[in-house]
């Protein structure tokens, strides 16, 4: 029974993964879904390091990129019939190469966690990104390398020319990878990774080598990052230096952190939100990176445990059945907060565009006239004041919802 209950979440996850392209079946949606599942695997592999193992890495894209590069080389080998196997196995090749890189780099970088580890990962990340431009026969220089995924043997009549076919391949791989990453957290090695993260000294006293524990997490993380890289290679059929440099490493840190590090589901949320922002917001505004930066800083400052942490904060209120107490104050705060955000976005966009008319939420605003500015500023100010006022109420409601009932206290 317990097993059924546990596996029901996984079955739901699998159904969601496989069912999504039936609901969102446009070409754009499929391409976003593809990016999403790749990002989920990558962000989860990063969480193995930082969230589970307490190792802050600034060079995680190395394993993603190396896995991706080897996968594209494998595609090229298949194309020229040097080797013949189904492209379904490509992510595994990427993963194995990520694992190899993890074993090699982890052998000397996992001695210490903390700042030393962070710096080594930064150094290695820069080193490999810079060398990839030097060794152009393997990395293809700045142009990168490209392959073609349609040359492998057919799989039940599919030649994988369509993105949707690749989505199903990626979804199944992502499901397997996610399942194994979850199972890893339940193994003794995964449990010890948490222990070493929280208190390496104590873990050493019980007789575990914290270095070895870190090393195991590190290698596993490299493996799954490599799988993500292999999926990337299958999806885009090309890969460049950009996929293993610091920008990609930074993006995965952002995803995992915004989603919530301490929770298994956190990076999944982060990956979904960021991919959506990346693909949808960039259609509407060229300033989306600026919004992303602001959102990231606000998350670090006000939601240090990320979105998942914010959801989990309500656990006690939920168990006590007090969620209904919170709904009204939340709505009262959310409306002016939303208004303020919209005004702020309008102000930012208006100071950026050069057109005479600014189309915003069905309104036609005139950025040249000071009246527009004054009105929006006034609304923003009012909304800000309303948020500040309503926060007091929200705080009171929060206290009541989480308060220990009288009889329990006694």
């Amino acid at each position: 029974m317990a097993l059924l209950k546990k596996s029901s979440i996984w079955i739901a996850f699998l159904i969601a993964l496989l069912g999504l392209p039936l609901v969102f079946d446009s070409i754009l949606a499929i391409s976003i879904l593809n990016q999403m599942v790749i990002a989920i695997v990558f962000a989860l592999s990063y969480n193995m390091l930082l969230g589970q193992g307490g190792m802050l890495s600034f060079g995680h894209a190395v394993y993603f990129g190396l896995g991706g590069f080897l996968s594209v080389h494998a595609l090229i080998l298949i194309e020229f019939e040097t080797m013949v196997f189904s492209i379904l196995w490509i992510p595994l090749i990427g993963g194995l190469f990520g694992l190899l890189a993890g074993i090699f780099i982890g052998s000397f970088s996992t001695h210490k966690a903390g700042t030393v580890f962070a710096m080594i990962s930064l150094g290695i990340g820069e080193l490999i990104a810079a060398s990839s431009l030097i060794f152009s026969s393997f990395f293809g220089g700045e142009a990168g390398i490209s392959g073609d995924r349609t040359f492998g043997p057919m799989f039940f009549g599919f030649d994988f020319a369509q993105n949707i076919e690749i989505y199903y391949v990626a979804a199944v791989w992502a499901f397997i990878a996610t399942l194994f990453m979850y199972l890893f957290t339940q193994t003794p090695a995964g449990r010890m990774a948490n222990a070493v993260r929280d208190n390496p000294e104590r873990a050493e006293f019980i007789g575990y080598s914290s270095r070895k524990v870190r090393f195991i997490s590190f290698c596993a993380s490299g493996l799954f990052a490599g799988i993500a890289g292999g999926l990337f290679a299958l999806n885009y059929e090309f890969i460049t230096e950009e996929n293993l440099n610091a920008a990609t490493s930074g993006r995965v840190l952002l995803m995992a952190y915004i989603g919530g590090l301490g929770y298994f589901i956190g990076p999944i949320i982060g990956a979904v939100v960021l991919t959506l922002m990346n693909s949808l917001l960039s259609n509407y505004s060229e300033l989306w990176m600026l919004y992303l930066g602001i959102m990231f800083l606000l998350t670090v400052m006000y939601l240090p445990r990320g979105f998942a942490g914010f959801i989990m904060m309500h656990q006690i209120a939920w168990i006590r059945g007090n969620m209904k107490l919170l709904i009204k104050p939340y709505i009262i705060t959310a409306i002016p907060a939303l208004l303020f955000t919209l005004c702020a976005i309008a102000l930012i966009e208006m100071s950026h565009i050069e057109d005479e008319v600014f189309h915003y939420l069905g309104l036609e605003l005139n950025p040249a006239s000071p009246i527009t500015w004054i009105v929006i500023l006034a609304v923003a100010g009012g909304a800000f004041y309303a948020v500040k006022r309503s926060l007091v109420q929200l705080n009171d409601a929060w206290e009541t919802a989480n308060a220990i009932p009288k009889e329990e206290e006694a």
Partner: protein, 316 residues
């Protein structure tokens, strides 16, 4: 050969001193708060952009004076309203905060100033060759850069070791509780040091902007190098940062100026490889090509064999 060597040395020293201006602030901030400020190079970039905008109205010298001040105030505000809040969530959150800040500053700069390179020029006053050696000119501006950097270095040394403020700062680094008990406002000292460190970074940006070009990627170019310096020198060690800055400046300068490479080494050893050898890239590599990689190679080696850096203290 001698001429190449002398100019490589001079340029290396200019870069080295410039790097020290960034590294000194970074290492001071680290020893106070235990946090590596990822956004440090972003403040350097802000310095260059502010100076560019100010120079349009007040000329170069106006920018030189006011831009670092503005950057310093901004830095202090970031510490007061950002970092101090995040401090409660631990070191990782602080590191991630500064990382996000670097990201945000880069985007904000593109928002306010645009993506293109700014035409930030050296002042006319310094637009002449300082001296000519072997028919090659050394510009007065580079001399000026070096002079400012050395002046800052000396001033910093005196302030930190001789002045009362410096002594309080040094005490606050090691014994914040005691200093607080003696009636000093330690959070204010932290804010001041953060502001001063970022102002120094801003000053470095002001004087480097015209030479290293003012564009939105300039923080990324220097950012990780400054990190490398602080770590190689030993976290929290000012003297170590000084040595490492000069070391990296000279190393890169020599590597770029030299023209030796693997082919020379192979010739010396009497080995030769076919062009179609799979590792052809490795056998044809030369030093200028790998110059950008050298600092990181050094970083990884130092961290593996001497994790405390050159002059770092033993870890507890």
């Amino acid at each position: 050969m001698l001429e190449v060597f002398i100019f490589a040395t001079l340029n290396g020293l200019v870069t080295g001193f410039l790097l020290f201006m960034l590294a000194s602030g970074l290492t001071l901030i680290f020893s106070m708060m235990g946090v590596l400020n990822f956004a440090h190079a972003s403040f350097y970039m802000l310095g260059a952009y502010f100076a560019y905008s100010l120079s349009l109205y007040f000329g170069f010298w106006g920018g030189l004076i006011f831009a670092p001040l503005i950057v310093g105030v901004l830095g202090a505000l970031v510490e007061r309203y950002g970092l101090r809040k995040v401090h409660a969530s631990g070191h990782v959150a602080e590191l991630v905060f500064t990382f996000g800040l670097a990201f945000l500053i880069e985007e904000a700069i593109q928002f306010f100033w645009g993506r293109d390179t700014k035409n930030y020029q050296t002042p006319d006053l310094l637009d002449f060759p300082l001296f000519t050696l072997f028919g090659q000119e050394f510009s007065a501006y580079r001399g000026f850069m070096m002079a400012i950097s050395i002046a800052i270095f000396i001033a910093l040394y005196y302030v930190l070791t001789k002045s009362r403020v410096g002594i309080i700062i040094q005490a606050a680094i090691t014994h914040p509780q005691t200093v607080s008990n003696l009636g000093h406002n330690v959070p204010l000292i932290f804010m001041g040091v953060f502001g001063m460190g970022t102002a120094l970074a801003g000053l470095a940006g002001v004087i480097a902007g015209p030479v290293l070009t003012t564009f939105p990627g300039m923080a990324a170019v220097l950012g990780s190098i400054v990190f490398v310096i602080v770590v190689i020198g030993g976290l929290g060690s000012l003297a170590g940062a000084f040595i490492a800055s000069l070391l990296i400046g000279l190393l890169q300068s020599y590597a770029i100026a030299s023209d030796v490479g693997m082919p020379d080494l192979l010739n010396l050893l009497g080995i030769s490889f076919d062009r179609s050898h799979p590792l052809n890239d490795l056998w044809t590599m030369n030093l200028p090509q790998i110059a950008p990689v050298l600092p990181y190679l050094l970083l990884v080696l130092v961290l593996i064999f001497r994790p405390t850096g050159l002059l770092g203290k033993r870890e507890e």
